[in-house]
């Protein structure tokens, strides 16, 4: 498939492997920076993950001029502005973000404020409107293998006044360097490992089948699914398996590159709404909703899903499945993955298991159809369609 027109960008340099963090001082020098602020949260400090980064920086002669560890679970305008204030007051010249999606999104938001001089970050809400040529040097060190935020040009930040999540999409938000070091994820408990992995899987499947899919994003999505198929069982069996952890971190990054360029669709739109309205953890929502979203899209994206069977089940299963049965087999393969994650790690398989009730479905659906992701879904969906998907997943 070749689109009539597409755009693609991934300028983040990737450091992947053992002791990758030890190369951050060199990367800072390459970015002509020497006084970074380290952005993280208190839980990660308590777990000792931040110390690994601080130790590497100290060994490389880099002095961190401030540590900002007050990032909450949901990034917000207030936190972004506060981080920008600390950065300015401490005289920093680069950002190192160590954490999951919230920490990385907070750093991206602060980078907008610092680079543009914006008084109100809301001025930059939208897509492709940040025109800053030189953002602050930004190094991302993910501590989960799921969001792919270390290579995406998107950030979600909560407006605490209006109680809405604001979307920011721009190639300018891409970090300069993404650092994948297995030490950052080897302590993740199985439940979180499974939840974040299914988020990455959903990124890859949706990016592969959405309106913006293109040959470059397809390649990243296929590679991501291959790694998840092979290594998710490995890390669920043994979280200390560093090869498996590195592979899963790469899978999340590959899926991140893919969806940053091809976008995501109805599963994310509904998942965001489940999170906003009912507090469902994002990865849990993705795992539960993905097979239902695929079934909804089947009549327009079935052929694409059929192609993914090769990556979801491997070459032998693909070759032995008749072409017309591959789309349904791909959905079954996703269900198998979710079922396996439920058995090994206690992943929920239905929305009712994560606190969603039938009475909440209309408000979730009304929220989902206003989520930008739904516009890139290969098949149109209105409120009644979304309620149908939610009922099937309840």
């Amino acid at each position: 498939m070749i689109p009539a027109y597409y755009e693609f960008s991934n300028r983040a340099k990737v450091l992947s492997g053992e002791k990758a963090i030890e190369n951050i001082p060199y990367e800072l020098q390459s970015l002509e920076a020497s006084h970074p602020i380290l952005v993280t949260n208190r839980q990660l400090r308590d777990l000792g993950l931040v110390d690994i980064v601080l130790s590497a920086l100290a060994a490389g002669g880099i002095e961190v001029c401030a540590i900002y560890d007050a990032v909450p679970v949901d990034s917000s305008v207030d936190v972004v502005n506060d981080l920008a204030r600390v950065y300015r007051e401490a005289g920093c010249d680069a950002i190192i973000a160590v954490g999951g999606g919230s920490v990385l999104d907070t750093a991206k938001g602060a980078n907008i404020v610092l680079t543009t001089g914006a008084q109100d970050i809301k001025e930059y809400m939208g897509t492709e409107i940040i025109k800053a040529r030189c953002m602050k040097p930004f190094i991302a060190v993910p501590t989960t293998a799921g969001t792919g935020s270390e290579v995406t040009g998107a950030a979600v930040i909560k407006d605490t006044e209006r109680h809405v999540k604001m979307g920011f999409v721009s190639y300018s938000l891409l970090p300069d360097v993404a650092v994948l070091d297995p030490r950052m994820t080897e302590g993740l408990p199985p439940r979180l490992t499974a939840s974040t992995a299914l988020d990455a899987l959903t990124h890859a499947v949706e990016a592969f089948s959405c309106r913006q899919a293109n040959p470059l994003s397809d390649g990243y999505a296929r590679a991501a699914i291959d790694l998840i198929r092979e290594y998710l069982p490995v890390v669920l069996d043994n979280g200390r398996d560093r090869t498996g952890r590195l592979a899963m971190a790469n899978a999340a990054l590959l899926a991140g590159v893919s969806f940053s360029n091809a976008m995501v669709g109805i599963v994310h739109a509904i998942g965001h709404a489940c999170g906003g309205q009912c507090g469902v953890a994002h990865g849990d929502a993705m795992g539960i909703l993905l097979p239902h979203g695929m079934e909804y899209n089947m009549d327009v994206a079935g052929e694409r899903y059929g192609e993914l069977l090769l990556h979801l089940k491997g070459a032998e299963a693909y070759a032995s499945t008749p072409a017309d049965e591959r789309p349904a087999a791909a959905v079954a393969a996703v269900r198998d993955m979710l079922s396996d994650a439920a058995t090994r790690a206690g992943m929920p398989m239905r929305l009712s298991q994560v606190g969603v009730s039938a009475e909440q479905l209309p408000v979730i659906a009304a929220t989902a159809i206003n989520d930008g992701a739904i516009s890139m879904n290969p098949k149109d969906a209105d409120v009644s369609d979304v309620i149908g998907i939610l009922r099937a997943a309840l």
Binding site: M125, G126, E128, I369, G372, K379
Partner: protein, 181 residues
């Protein structure tokens, strides 16, 4: 050596701008007309906060159309009032806008191809897209609609002719129309 390399846009480019200006004006008035005749568009507009100002434009200084909701009325301001928009959808060039405006390419496909940028709340942008799909359903013949709309056009309340007639009006009282229908 010749250093003056200014190039004037060709006739086709100038034509595209003129065309965009005309179709933008029709779209703005079409949105207002459909808010009058179709309850789905009216419901979307009623959900927008008071003072919402939506602008469709092609790069700064080029053709644009602005629609504003104020005091319960939805009004097309034409090419005036493009400043201070709550939601600004900007096509990156006239060449990017014309296929969309002429019904040769869907709005969603245009976004998928990065032909346009959005400044403002993406939720409001989704609401606008739903409205524009309904407007296109009234303004374009079904042979075009089948190609650009995500699902078959439904003209719930009126036919093409009433929508075209509605283009003559520049504003609509949303609450009054809602009570009347």
């Amino acid at each position: 050596m010749k250093t003056d390399v200014r190039v004037r846009p060709g006739l086709a480019k100038q034509g595209a701008r003129v065309l965009a200006k005309v179709v933008f004006a029709v779209m703005g008035r079409g949105l207002v007309a459909c808010a009058r005749i179709d309850p789905r568009v009216r419901a979307e507009a009623l959900s927008w906060p008071e003072g919402t100002t939506i602008t469709l434009a092609i790069l700064p200084g080029h053709p644009s159309v602005t629609v504003r909701k104020l005091n319960g009325r939805l009004r097309s301001l034409g090419s005036k009032g493009a400043g201070g928009s709550t939601l600004l959808v900007t096509f990156k060039s006239a060449d990017a806008a014309v296929p969309v405006l002429l019904g040769m390419k869907s709005i969603l496909q245009s976004f998928a191809e990065h032909r346009a940028t959005v400044r403002g709340d993406l939720g409001l942008a989704m609401s606008l897209v739903r409205c524009l799909h309904i407007v296109e359903g009234y303004l374009y013949p079904d042979i075009i609609n089948r190609r650009i709309l995500p699902r078959p056009a439904v003209r719930e309340a009126a036919g093409h002719l009433r929508a075209y007639a509605g283009l003559l009006g520049g504003s609509v009282n949303l609450k009054q129309e809602g009570a009347a229908s």
